[in-house]
């Protein structure tokens, strides 16, 4: 792999940047692979990367209908945190967060992970108790969080109005090592590393069918022809239902639009990420200066990547109340992504009724922050043929057994 460094940039500057290689190769599909991953978003690419890095499997293809990283990986609000309540969630999100700490060095690609701190505001007595409970749980899960006072909230984020007339800030759950990263770069960095390991990333290639014999997967049919495989990983977020149908099973998934928006860029005025669940809004400021704002999901099935304006309105209303100075900023752009919501709003990392076919989906509104951990756990499951400890609780069977992983209990419903 062509190493990236300040010296490489300086060297290339001297020759007009003519020496930069492609970040990832563009190849036609081969006849068959050990493993095919469908979906070249963050989760799919991370899965492929850890198949190679942790399990020595490099005869791998990642097939993508559109362009790599073109789905929710590039449409989220880039928040990274692991202050979850339930043990299985805390484990996989903290694994992801800790991998984010070193991912730029591991991939030799600067994804700009910025542990600027994430605070979740408590604005009711009920939320105080919920976040205190989370802080206790986190203290046993190896997740560094603390419950902080309104005064500390104000110190960390001076633009918050802590004495709002309706929902004064009563405290916050603070994760100092949470933060943000450059979302596109995560997909690009993994893609480059996968390509370097000899894996094929095949874009503009839509899967049209799943082949199987005797209950075992044997390959996929695509718009670029049939491709064989020993193992298949389906990692396609909002489109999981469609792929599952091809593979002959159904999922506890509904696809809905989740919306976000950014303001015009302004000089830095907010160093931390703030989430306010009572009023349904969260905000951070990007390295470009834009205020990045996320809100709630629509409640109806939708594949249009556009949502209903009323949710934007609700979110902005809440944030203008929480951060009065943004009233005179302007919304630059709003967009929607299609997220896959499961019955308990927690993800699925699971074998499927089809032999050697595995699925990773259902990240709902919280997928970006999980990418490295999700890829790690999914790769482990595919390589071993059975889920490891990180994935074990996220199996499909939990919906039958009633063994849900419900995070909404800690008042921390938003991601």
């Amino acid at each position: 792999m062509q190493r990236y460094s300040v010296f490489a940039v300086a060297r290339e500057a001297m020759r007009q940047h003519t020496g930069w290689h492609r970040a990832w190769a563009s190849r036609a599909p081969r006849k068959s692979y050990d493993v095919i991953i469908v979906g070249a978003g963050g989760h799919g690419l991370a899965t492929a990367y850890y198949l190679g890095k942790n399990h020595g499997l490099t005869n791998v293809a990642v097939i993508e209908k559109g362009w790599l990283g073109g789905g929710n990986t590039g449409r989220n609000t880039t928040i990274i945190r692991s202050n979850y309540l339930q043990d299985p969630s805390a484990a996989i999100y903290e694994k992801a967060r800790s991998l984010y700490e070193t991912i730029s060095q591991d991939l030799n690609y600067n994804v700009m992970f910025s542990p600027r701190g994430v605070m979740m505001l408590a604005q009711t007595e009920h939320e105080i108790r919920g976040y205190q409970r989370t802080a206790h749980a986190n203290s046993l899960q190896g997740v560094q969080t603390e419950f902080i006072s309104p005064q500390r909230v104000k110190e960390l984020c001076p633009i918050i109005e802590i004495r709002g007339p309706r929902y004064p800030v009563l405290g916050a759950l603070w994760q100092a090592r949470g933060g943000t990263a450059r979302h596109d770069a995560v997909a690009w960095g993994y893609a480059r590393a996968c390509s370097d390991m000899g894996m094929d990333i095949i874009q503009q290639c839509e899967v049209t069918g799943v082949r199987s014999e005797n209950g075992q997967v044997t390959g996929v049919e695509t718009t670029k022809g049939a491709i064989g495989c020993n193992k298949l990983g389906i990692v396609v977020a909002g489109h999981s239902g469609v792929l599952a149908e091809m593979a002959g099973f159904r999922l506890p998934i509904e696809s809905v639009a989740l919306q976000a928006l950014v303001s015009e860029p302004i000089k830095p005025c907010m160093d931390v990420v703030v989430m306010a669940n009572t009023v349904h809004g969260y905000m951070s400021q990007s390295d470009k200066g834009e205020m990045v704002i996320g809100g709630g999901a629509d409640g109806y099935n939708n594949y249009t990547q556009r949502g209903s304006f009323l949710h934007i309105e609700e979110t902005v209303r809440a944030l203008v109340e929480t951060f009065p100075i943004i009233s005179r900023l302007k919304m630059l752009r709003q967009w929607g992504g299609i997220v896959d919501m499961t019955g308990d709003r927690s993800p699925i990392i699971s074998p499927t009724p089809l032999g050697n076919c595995f699925i990773n989906c259902g990240w709902g509104t919280g997928g970006f922050k999980a990418i490295p951990g999700s890829g790690w756990a999914t790769a482990e499951m595919i390589a071993r043929g059975t889920p490891g400890p990180l994935a074990a609780a996220f199996g499909l069977e939990r919906f039958r057994e009633g063994r849900f992983i419900d995070e909404s209990v800690a008042a921390g419903v938003a991601h």
């Binding site: 409640g299 594949y303 249009t304």
Partner: protein, 109 residues
């Protein structure tokens, strides 16, 4: 921002008046059903890219539930109808097949 016609009060209701209620025509499985049936009833969903039969409530209006047939990729609405039926009525079927020749209904085979 959808508009759906409420078949009860006759209003073309703005989305701000409506509350979505997920897939329609689920068959309830109660005591005596198998684990698989119960799981499917509670969680497994069609989630189609295309025509979706779904429940809505005219929550900030007459308060009544009704059903809608809507395309999830274009938001085209083929019709709304009573919530007190176990499958889409014939005229809704006809409207859909009229506009989407080749569309397969899981109720008519």
């Amino acid at each position: 921002m959808l508009i759906l016609h409420c078949p009860y009060c006759g209003v073309d209701a703005d989305e701000t008046e409506l509350a979505p209620g997920g897939e329609a025509h689920l068959k309830r499985f109660g005591p005596g059903s198998s684990d698989a049936e119960f799981e499917a009833y509670l969680f497994q969903r069609e989630n189609p890219k295309g025509v979706h039969f779904e429940r809505w409530r005219h929550a900030n209006g007459c308060g009544k539930w009704f059903h809608a047939a809507r395309c999830t990729t274009t938001n085209e609405v083929f019709g709304t109808y009573s919530a007190q039926v176990t499958e889409p009525p014939r005229d809704i079927h006809d409207k859909i097949t009229g506009k989407r020749p080749g569309w397969l209904s899981r109720w008519l085979s």
